[in-house]
C-alpha cells in the first residue's frame, strides 16, 4: 500500500520574490494515512499543502497527485463559506462545479451535513452558525466529493480547545467510516500527535522535512488516550524534533 504513494512532493523548490527559497521539500502521503505537518510559521507548511492541491507549481521538482479529478478536498484556516448562501448550497458547491446535477448535489450535500451532525441546519446561513458549526460545514464541503486526499490548513486554530477536540473526534469518525488520506497543517504539537498517524516536522530555515515520526496507537483514538504514557511520550518526541527545527535565536 505504501509502495505507491497517493500524493508526493519530490524535491519541490518554491521561490517567492524577495524571500529565501523554500525546499527542496520531499513528502509522500500513502492511501488512508493521516499526516500532520508541523513547523515554524514561514516554514512552508501551507505552501506544501497548496502544491499537493495543485494550486501552486514548484519552480523545481515534481508533484504526484491523485489520478482522478476532483479527488482532493481542502479545508482552509477559516470556514471560508459563501456568506450569501445557506449551508446546503455551500456544501454542494464542489459537487456542482464538478458537474454533478443540482438535485443530486443537494442530496449529497445534505448527507455530508448529516455526517458532521448538522443535518438540521441545512438551510442556515453562515452568519447564523457558531465558529465550530461553520467549520463543520467547511469540513462537510471538503468531504462532499468523497475525496481520496483531504488537505487541512490549520483549520481549527481559531476555535476554543473543547470545540477543537470535538472536531478532531469528528474527523477521526468520518475517516473510519470512509478512509481517506489527510495532510493536516498545525503548529500545535499535542494536536499533531493526537490526530495523525505520522508527524512530519519542517525546518524553519528552508522547509525541508527534518523529522518523520510515526505516532503510536490506533485511529480513532481510544478514550483517555491523552493520558496514555505512549501518547505523552510521542508528544514529547514531536516537541523535541520541532525545537531542533527552530531557528537558533529561538
Amino acid at each position: 500500500m505504501a509502495d505507491t504513494p497517493l500524493a508526493r512532493l519530490t524535491g519541490a523548490v518554491v521561490r517567492y520574490p524577495g524571500r529565501a527559497a523554500l525546499g527542496p521539500i520531499d513528502l509522500a502521503v500513502a492511501t488512508s494515512e493521516i499526516v500532520a505537518l508541523v513547523g515554524a510559521s514561514g516554514a512552508g507548511k501551507s505552501t506544501a499543502l497548496r502544491m499537493l492541491a495543485g494550486l501552486e507549481t514548484p519552480a523545481q521538482g515534481s508533484i504526484t497527485r491523485p489520478e482522478t479529478t476532483n479527488s482532493t478536498g481542502f479545508v482552509f484556516q477559516s470556514a471560508t463559506l459563501m456568506p450569501w448562501a445557506d449551508a446546503r448550497t455551500n456544501v454542494a458547491l464542489p459537487l456542482e462545479l464538478s458537474g454533478v446535477p443540482a438535485a443530486e448535489a443537494r442530496r449529497r450535500a445534505d448527507e455530508a451535513l448529516t455526517a458532521v451532525g448538522l443535518g438540521d441546519r441545512t438551510t442556515a446561513r453562515p452568519r447564523q452558525l457558531s465558529g465550530g458549526m461553520a467549520m463543520r460545514v467547511s469540513l462537510a464541503r471538503a468531504l462532499s466529493i468523497q475525496p481520496d486526499l483531504l488537505l487541512l490548513d490549520e483549520p481549527f486554530a481559531a476555535l476554543d480547545s473543547i470545540t477543537r477536540r470535538g472536531l478532531i473526534e469528528d474527523l477521526h469518525r468520518l475517516w473510519s467510516a470512509r478512509p481517506f488520506a489527510a495532510v493536516f497543517v498545525t503548529h500545535d504539537v499535542e494536536e499533531a500527535a493526537y490526530l495523525a498517524s505520522r508527524v512530519v516536522v519542517l525546518s524553519a530555515a528552508d522547509g525541508r522535512a527534518v523529522a518523520d515520526l510515526p505516532m503510536p496507537g490506533p485511529l480513532p483514538r481510544p478514550a483517555d488516550w491523552r493520558r496514555d504514557p505512549a501518547f505523552r511520550e510521542a508528544v514529547e518526541d514531536v516537541a523535541q524534533a520541532l525545537a531542533a527545527a527552530m531557528p537558533e535565536a529561538a
Binding site: R50, A53, G54, L55, T69, N70, T72, F74, F76, Q77, S78, T80, M82, P83, W84, A85, L93, P94, L97, S98, R125, R127, I145
Partner: protein, 253 residues
C-alpha cells in the same frame, strides 16, 4: 419610534433656521427679489405646485433613465473588463478620463450630437456619463473582492470562468454595486440639472429650467421653490436606493 426620535434633532434645527430666516427677512425688510422669506417660498410652492411637480417628474425621469443606462453600461463594462487583465489596463485610464472631465465641458458637444430637437437625450447622456464612474468602479472593485480562499476553492474544483463569475464574483460584488448605484443616483440628478442648464432651452422642461426661468425673471421665491423640489427629489432617490440596499443586504444575512 427610534427612527422618529433620530429624525427629531434634524427637524428641530431646520425649523429653527427657517424661523430665524423668516424673522430676519421681516425685521431687516430684505427685498423679496433678493431673499424672500420662507413663507413666500411656501406660497410659491403651492401656487406653482402642478408645474413644479410636472418638472420634478421630468427631471426624475431623465435622471432615472440616465441611472439605468449608467448601470447597464458601467456594470457591463466592469464585468467584461474583470475577465481580462489587459482589457482592464486598457479601459481603466479612459474611465478615469471620463470621471475627471467636467460634464459641463462636454455638454455643448453632446448637444450637437443629440440635436437641439432632442435636448432630453443630451441630458440623459450627460447625466449617465456622470453616473457611470461610481457604478463601474464599484462593480469592478466588488468583482475583485471575493475571498481569495474561495477563489482557490473554485480553482481546486476546476470552475469555468462563467461559474466563477456567476457563483462567486457577482454575489461578492453585489454590495459594492449597490453602493455605487446609490452614489450614482445622486450624481445622476446633479448631472441632469447641469446638463439642462447648459442646454439652456425650455425643450426639456425639467426643474433646472424652472430655476433658470425664475432666476431670469427675478422671481426668487419661485426659484427657491424649485430648489426645494430638487432637494426633496434628491432625498427621495437617496432614501429609495438606501432602502433597496438594506433589503438586499438583509436578505443575504
Amino acid at each position: 419610534m427610534n427612527r422618529v426620535l433620530s429624525a427629531l434633532p434634524g427637524l428641530i434645527l431646520t425649523a429653527l433656521l427657517l424661523a430665524i430666516w423668516e424673522v430676519a427677512c421681516r425685521a431687516l425688510a430684505v427685498p423679496v427679489y433678493f431673499l424672500p422669506p420662507p413663507s413666500a417660498v411656501a406660497i410659491a410652492l403651492v401656487e406653482n405646485g402642478p408645474v413644479l411637480a410636472a418638472s420634478a417628474l421630468q427631471t426624475f425621469w431623465m435622471a432615472f433613465q440616465a441611472l439605468m443606462v449608467a448601470t447597464v453600461l458601467g456594470g457591463g463594462l466592469a464585468i467584461a473588463v474583470s475577465l481580462s487583465r489587459p482589457a482592464e489596463q486598457a479601459v481603466a485610464p479612459l474611465a478615469v478620463a471620463l470621471q475627471v472631465t467636467p460634464v459641463v465641458a462636454i455638454a455643448p458637444l453632446v448637444l450637437i450630437w443629440a440635436g437641439l430637437d432632442h435636448a432630453d437625450r443630451a441630458v440623459i447622456a450627460l447625466a449617465a456619463a456622470v453616473a457611470f464612474f461610481p457604478i463601474f468602479s464599484g462593480v469592478l472593485t466588488g468583482l475583485k473582492s471575493a475571498d481569495p480562499d474561495l477563489e482557490r476553492l473554485f480553482d481546486l474544483h476546476g470552475a469555468t470562468r462563467l461559474q466563477r463569475l456567476t457563483r462567486l464574483r457577482l454575489p461578492s460584488a453585489l454590495p459594492f454595486a449597490l453602493e455605487g448605484i446609490r452614489v450614482a443616483a445622486g450624481l445622476s440628478v446633479v448631472g441632469a440639472v447641469v446638463a439642462e442648464f447648459v442646454s439652456g432651452s425650455g425643450a426639456t422642461q425639467g426643474l433646472a429650467w424652472r430655476l433658470l426661468e425664475a432666476g431670469n425673471r427675478l422671481r426668487t421665491a419661485e426659484l427657491l421653490a424649485a430648489l426645494v423640489c430638487l432637494s426633496v427629489l434628491g432625498l427621495l432617490l437617496n432614501a429609495a436606493t438606501t432602502a433597496i440596499q438594506r433589503r438586499v443586504i438583509a436578505s443575504r444575512a
